[in-house]
Amino acid sequence: MVPTDTISAPQLYLQSLSRWSATEIAFWLATLLPFFLFPNYLSLASQIAITALFALSLDLILGYAGVVSLGHAAFFGIGAYAAGLFSKFVWGEPISGLLVAALLAGLAGYATSFIICRFRHLTLIMLTLGLGLLAFEVANSAHWLTGGSDGLQGVRIWPLFGIFKFDLYGYTAYSYSLAVLFLFFLGMRRLVHSPFGLALRGIRENLVRMPAIGAASRAHIRKAYTIAAAVAGIAGALLTQTTESAALESISFQRSADVLVMLVLGGAGRLYGGLIGAIIFMIARDQFSGIAPQYWYFWIGILLIVVVMLLPNGILGGLSKIFARWSRK
């Protein structure tokens, strides 16, 4: 036990942030519920976990560092194709596939981060949009490698740890996706509650002031962007591995836009925002499209308008506001 007087105030502040609350523990316990309550929905649950991981990676750069990206699917797609091609040409072991995907997506993120860190706001939106569309066209025209619009053929994933086959019911898929999501959530949680995380928030609030107090803003953005790219790559790889397919859709603008919508829906800059957003978006989509396969996007639109008008900081932002008001009384 370290005596409290030797710990500085900022350290105490960061420690208080990273303490686990009962709600958080309850949330993660609840993620196990589908195994018992909805065993028929496990493949959906698995894709929700994957999308949540993807939203989490966007949250790091958008929610914390304030880097708006409309091309984040590029890294998701790079991860998806990397994992698919790795299983096709090297071997189908899933964990090593994840690492390769993370490495490649991370490298792509690192390379583009040098451009990203120079711009803000509208320019950045155009830039990331452009980079995302470029990545899409490259994947589209490299027909010999990616299979073009038919999707990548010949993805074969070995059983997890050599034991658990990816089954029709999605037991393995959900267990695997959930475990990876939790692992990276822990890492991300540690990251945003570190001095580095504070520096990112500083950049979001005032980019000009941060260098003035001695923070290397551009280096910070580059680091965060690279990490976010690698995590997005892992999410893409998970999707490829659990569905044994990779297609252009994984790298498309639609995916970049959807994940942004989820993050806005849930609340950016709060770690759980992306997770909640992904859960609500995916379940709403599944339910609405079950009712009306043609018009489900209409209801998603209504949902989004309602959330944005009534809860401008997303569902979590709104909830915490209500909670704060309630506890003040």
Binding site: H143, D150, G151, Y169, L239, S245, A247, S289
Partner: protein, 391 residues
């Protein structure tokens, strides 16, 4: 341990449940009902609905129930998940639909693992049927059309030098490959080719390049929508006369909407396709009439795909006496032959792919209407890609 216990319990539940619920047969239809391809999904659906309206919803004592799922576009991962859910959650007996190739490829492994019949009602890439022994296709394969057109163009169309223009995406590249290969094999010469961006509104530069090479014919493959009209205008502006230079294509660039927006510019265009609502037969005119009465529009090849797909399912169920087991159904469909609105078609027992007549048509004025008129046909065309694989 716990995991395997639950897996076991779930498996047991699945084994027990269908035994009790035997009075109906559930068909899970996976299509693009929203997004860019929404209309194609809707037309397949119209075909399905019309068939069920005409033939009732009970076959061999079983009630047919349709469960529709939307993929939102060419998403293999979504299609695979929907197929899994349809089988695990909704206890579907048969999978059907599949507007786009990636959807069919995504669901293929599920049909193989679950041993369920999967009826492909559109997706036209050759390889689709090879991905699961339970897949059967009633629509077409793109090489079936492009290959036939190329051979016809050299042998009967009197053209030895062709230029190809295709959209730069999967189906375009497939069409280009099939056309060029067959054209050369028939003794023709490809004088040049170009791949155009999929979303390209201005074709004049590409058309000029084709014109400079002075080919006897130009083969075109572009997606439907606004592009056929834009390309038709570019041909006219650059002075390419369809009477002198043969403009060849598959059915999409000269479909009903495209001809309507092109008007007289579409005249004399030659195409190969497996279905047009102007096809002359009693069966087809009845079909078109019923379709118009129901949906206030003409059927297209998507609608025929849905209609024939349902026919196949109904007839197969009659043969198996209501047994929806994948192996029994697939055995029943092999070699099945019937008259469709497009003419007589049958299922190749070796490849489970459709064998049909390919019609060569020319756009002409009939009365006040500008329509595709069939003037030649090649019967019993099998998918050339799988035939070549066998050799």
């Amino acid at each position: 341990m716990k995991r395997s216990l639950f897996a076991g319990a779930a498996l047991l539940a699945v084994v027990i449940l269908p035994a009790g619920a035997n009075a109906q047969i559930k068909i899970g239809v996976i299509n693009s009902y929203s997004g860019q391809f929404a209309d194609t999904g809707a037309q397949i659906d119209n075909g399905i609905k019309l068939y069920m309206k005409q033939h009732g919803d009970t076959v061999a004592g079983k009630k047919i129930e349709i469960i529709r799922k939307d993929t939102g576009g060419p998403n293999p991962d979504v299609a695979k998940r929907l197929a899994q859910e349809l089988i695990v959650r909704d206890k579907a007996d048969i999978l059907a639909g599949f507007t786009l190739t990636p959807e069919a490829l995504g669901a293929a492994s599920v049909s193989e693992e679950a041993k369920k019949l999967m009826v492909v009602m559109n997706a036209a890439t050759s390889i689709v049927t090879t991905k699961s022994p339970y897949i059967v296709r009633v629509s077409l394969t793109l090489p079936q059309i492009a290959d036939t057109l190329a051979t016809w163009a050299v042998k009967k169309g009197g053209t030895k030098k062709a230029y190809t223009m295709v959209s730069d995406y999967g189906p375009g590249i497939d069409a280009e490959g099939a056309f060029q290969k067959a054209f050369k094999e028939a003794g023709g010469e490809i004088v040049g080719s170009v791949r155009m961006p999929v979303a390209n509104p201005d074709f004049s530069a590409f058309v000029q390049r084709a014109k400079d090479l002075n080919p006897e014919s130009i083969f075109v493959f572009i997606p439907g929508g606004a592009q056929p009209a834009a390309l038709g205008k570019a041909f006219a502006e650059r002075g390419i006369d369809p009477k002198k230079v043969k403009l060849l294509s598959t059915g999409e660039p000269v479909d009903e909407t495209a001809i309507k927006s092109m008007g007289d510019l579409a005249l004399d265009r030659i195409s190969a396709w497996h279905y047009d609502f102007n096809h002359k037969s009693k069966m087809n005119s009845d079909f078109v009439k019923a379709f118009n009465a129901e949906y206030k529009r003409n059927p297209d090849f998507f609608a025929v795909g849905g209609y024939d797909g349902m026919h196949l399912i109904y007839e197969a169920l009659k043969k198996t006496n209501g047994n929806a087991d994948g192996d029994a159904l697939i055995a029943a469909i092999k070699g099945m032959k019937w008259e469709s609105p497009r003419g007589v078609i049958w299922i190749d027992p070796e490849t489970r792919d459709v064998v049909q007549t390919v019609y060569i048509r020319r756009v002409q004025k009939v009365g006040n209407d500008i329509v595709n008129v069939e003037f030649d046909k090649i019967e019993n065309v099998k998918d050339p890609v799988k035939a070549a694989m066998k050799k």
